[in-house]
């Protein structure tokens, strides 16, 4: 779309920028990555535009053109590099009407860059309630650019904005530069180019030479203060206020939500509520999905003649697809709550409350968000760690997030707990199985903290960074924004995790169904003879044949190879195979066991459970699933890194293979040692 015009939306976080973007583009938006960096790039065509397509780009939120994080660097590069593929023809600066001062900083910088700028003053509807009024025509005159007042929430002023930004925008003749600052950094003669000045400062700020970086810092401060001085002067005439205390209302809510005791209690209650939703409410749509996929399965079974193609379709592709979409309800619920908390402004308070608690573990308040998300799925959560500016804190957060009990572990836990933990009532109210399940969540969380503690001392600290979080005003979340966020998150999960799960599911199918041909022939011969007998139970024979074939398949041979390695943990070759197939996704373990024990997969988990319990080691004749082995296996699943998608995403987010390797080594060690403990106790 080279011929289309690009218009970028820029603004500080919480200015309602994304809200306006959603309104302007609707569902016609694409979320991807900016070239070369893993920062979300949202773009879309302007709605209702017929003659000339206009591409809107939602730039990552930034306070100024002095970037501090990877996100902000992207905005900086796009706006200052004329040759950048996303460099826009025009920029709309989105400002918060209730807090114009901070928003104008970026606006003046963009004007000085020489870009055509429109100022969109959002949230105009909130002004009367705050006894404020703005003289927008005067503001427009003083800035020398078009200014449009609007409310994305009330859907007002949007038409006017569209008209203004699609018309030709005159460059401002006003300058906010202080020439005295400028001549210090560059030898050029006037007229100065602000973009060059910023780029020079940016390089100087990050040099190791303290003298140069300090001088750059001083110039940056001078530039900022000069701008604010101008802005304050300008706003004196633009803002009319009959205000006594602007923040009175917010203080009232924060006094409760940030209370040293009450604040934590409320946060804890909220977490419990979210858990409740994930575990009981999500089970209803999950049941529907299971039912629906079961139907698809039987339709395919009935309508396609038996062949390896059908087998691949059903046991490879369909099993893989089911394994992905079954988790959507839980993940959607969790991200729904997180989006609501984020939109309302509460998440920033969580960051404030939790910072002190997370710091001893080498993380910061922002780490809480990926850690909570890790209880649904580590993949989107690791992506969410981008907001952490400090290098070490971000890495530690990424590395420990997979220890949180994700939803893929639930089916494995459920099966194993039902096998080895008796449903003894405790205090007449709780039940031992349920308590063990809850204990596993806590175990995951505490192991994450413990690992963080160790990792912290092993990872080099990056450039010193100051932790600064704005606590935005509370706002009622907008349905449109929440639903779009949810949609993008679920799509990202299905795409990121889904393709890996699908591919591995198909490879697994091949390994399970194929093996050395002569050995397969021998088995087939043997069973066809048995079927001739009068007393033959054909169904039983079919199952036994499948089970024998599996033992001789490539998967079975691989399992036999790793058996010596997992023997100390009390595992047999079947569990060995299960551990390998779990790399697709942990819940694949259950399906693998079903295939290995030749039990029907559809719902008759009772049979699978019983067959597993009766299984014995071929050499010693002892039972495989003793309580100790069951517990070993549960512990192994709690800690082991068995998710290809997580490793892939870690590689992408950290930009190096080092960290996924560190992740798999430390988690495997942890899993192995933890699984060894029950065996040692029994011995």
């Amino acid at each position: 779309m080279k011929s289309s015009i690009k218009i970028a939306l820029a603004g500080k976080p919480n200015s309602g920028k994304s809200s306006l973007f959603n309104l302007l583009t609707g569902l016609r938006q694409k979320v991807g990555n900016f070239t070369g960096v893993t920062v979300d790039r949202a773009s879309g065509l302007l709605k209702g535009q017929t003659d000339l397509p206009i591409q809107m780009i939602d730039l990552p939120g930034t306070y100024s053109l002095y970037p501090r994080s990877a996100d902000e660097q992207v905005t900086f590069d796009i706006l200052t590099e004329k040759n950048h593929p996303d460099h826009p023809e025009k920029v709309v600066v989105v400002a918060d009407a209730t807090n114009l001062r901070n928003c104008l900083l970026l606006c003046t910088q963009l004007i000085d860059l020489g870009l055509p700028v429109v100022l969109a003053v959002n949230m105009m509807d909130l002004l009367p309630g705050m006894n404020l009024s703005l003289n927008l025509p005067l503001l427009s005159e003083k800035l020398g650019i078009p200014v449009v007042g609007l409310s994305a929430r009330k859907n007002s002023g949007i038409q006017e904005l569209k008209q203004t930004m699609t018309a030709s925008i005159p460059l401002s003749v006003v300058s906010f530069l202080s020439n005295s600052i400028y001549s210090e950094v560059s030898s050029q003669k006037p007229p100065y180019v602000y973009g060059e000045f910023l780029k020079k400062l940016q390089t100087d700020l990050h040099t190791s030479d303290i003298q140069i970086s300090d001088k750059a810092d001083l110039l940056k401060i001078k530039d900022l203060l000069h701008r604010y001085e101008t802005i304050d002067e300008l706003l004196k005439t633009v803002v009319q206020s009959t205000l006594v205390n602007p923040a009175e209302k917010r203080n009232w809510a924060d006094r409760i939500l940030l209370h040293p005791i009450g604040g934590y209690a409320i946060f804890l209650l909220m977490l419990l509520f979210i858990f409740q939703a994930i575990f009981s409410w999500a089970s209803i749509p999950m049941y529907w999905i299971e039912w629906g996929m079961g139907n698809v399965n039987s339709v395919l079974n009935e309508n396609i003649a038996e062949s390896w193609g059908r087998s691949l379709l059903i046991n490879g592709v369909l099993a893989g697809v089911t394994g992905i979409i079954i988790f959507i309800p839980q993940i959607a619920f969790l991200f729904l709550f997180m989006a609501v908390l984020e939109e309302s402004g509460y998440m920033a308070r969580v960051v404030f409350l939790m910072d002190r608690l997370m710091r001893p573990f080498g993380m910061n308040g922002r780490s809480v968000i990926p850690l909570i998300g890790g209880m649904a799925c580590a993949i989107p959560s690791i992506m969410g760690a981008r907001t952490i500016a400090d290098r070490r804190e971000r890495l530690v957060t990424i590395l420990v997030t997979p220890l949180m009990s994700c939803s893929a572990r639930i089916p494995v836990y459920t099966l194993l707990i039902s096998m080895v933990i008796p449903p003894t009532p405790i205090f007449g109210f709780f039940q031992l199985q349920g308590l063990v399940m809850m204990g596993l969540y806590l175990l995951g969380f505490f192991m994450a903290l413990l690992s963080a503690l160790v990792l912290k001392s092993r990872i080099r600290k990056g450039e010193r960074s100051i932790f600064l979080v704005e606590l935005p005003a509370y706002r009622f979340p907008e349905f449109r924004n929440i639903s779009l966020t949810l949609w993008h998150k679920c799509k990202a999960f299905v795409w990121e995790a889904g393709r890996v799960i699908l591919v591995i599911s198909m490879i697994l199918w091949g390994m399970v169904n194929f093996g050395p041909q002569d050995e397969f022939n021998k088995i087939e011969e043997h069973y066809s003879q048995l079927r001739q007998l009068d007393s033959a139970d054909i169904e039983q024979l079919n199952r036994m044949e499948a089970s024998d074939k599996l033992k001789e398949s490539w998967a079975g041979k691989l399992g036999a190879k790793i058996e010596p390695m997992v023997k100390p943990l009390g595992f047999d070759w079947k569990i060995g195979i299960g551990l390998i197939t779990s790399f697709a996704a942990r819940e694949v373990f259950v399906g693998t066991m079903a295939t290995l024990y030749a039990a029907e997969e559809d719902g008759s988990s009772e049979t699978l459970r019983e067959r597993m319990l009766q299984d014995t080691f071929s050499d010693t004749g002892k039972k495989v699933y003793t309580p100790a082995t069951g517990i070993s296996l549960i512990l192994f699943y709690a800690f082991a890194m068995q998710c290809m998608s997580t490793l892939a995403i870690t590689r992408r987010e950290t930009g190096s293979w080092k960290w996924p390797v560190v992740m798999i080594i430390y988690m495997s060690l942890l899993a192995y040692l933890a699984a060894l403990i029950p065996q040692l106790i029994v011995a």
């Binding site: 306070y63 100024s64 002095y66 501090r68 209730t98 807090n99 001062r101 901070n102 900083l105 300090d214 810092d217 001083l218 940056k220 401060i221 900022l224 203060l225 604010y228 802005i231 602007p246 923040a247 917010r250 203080n251 924060d254 006094r255 940030l258 040293p260 920033a348 960051v351 404030f352 409350l353 910072d355 002190r356 608690l357 308040g365 010193r464 100051i466 932790f467 600064l468 979080v469 704005e470 606590l471």
Partner: protein
Amino acid sequence: MSKQPIQQLYSARCGQRFTIVKIEPLALKALLGEMGIQAGKNVQVLHRAPWNGPMAIQCEGITISLRKEDTIGVEVIQYNPG
């Protein structure tokens, strides 16, 4: 202006209002400068997280949270209206 004793924002109690006198080091000065917070502006300490956790301060209509030890170099005097 009458001579006021200089205090550190670090040790300020909740609810107190101050006028900023000096911000150090340079990195913090630049960071707060981006928010439009500088010497001469009035700040109010709104909340403090327990166990020496971060503090929430309000200045020029925005509320930001900073770690306590990052504010060691912020010098303030008692706010004196009029």
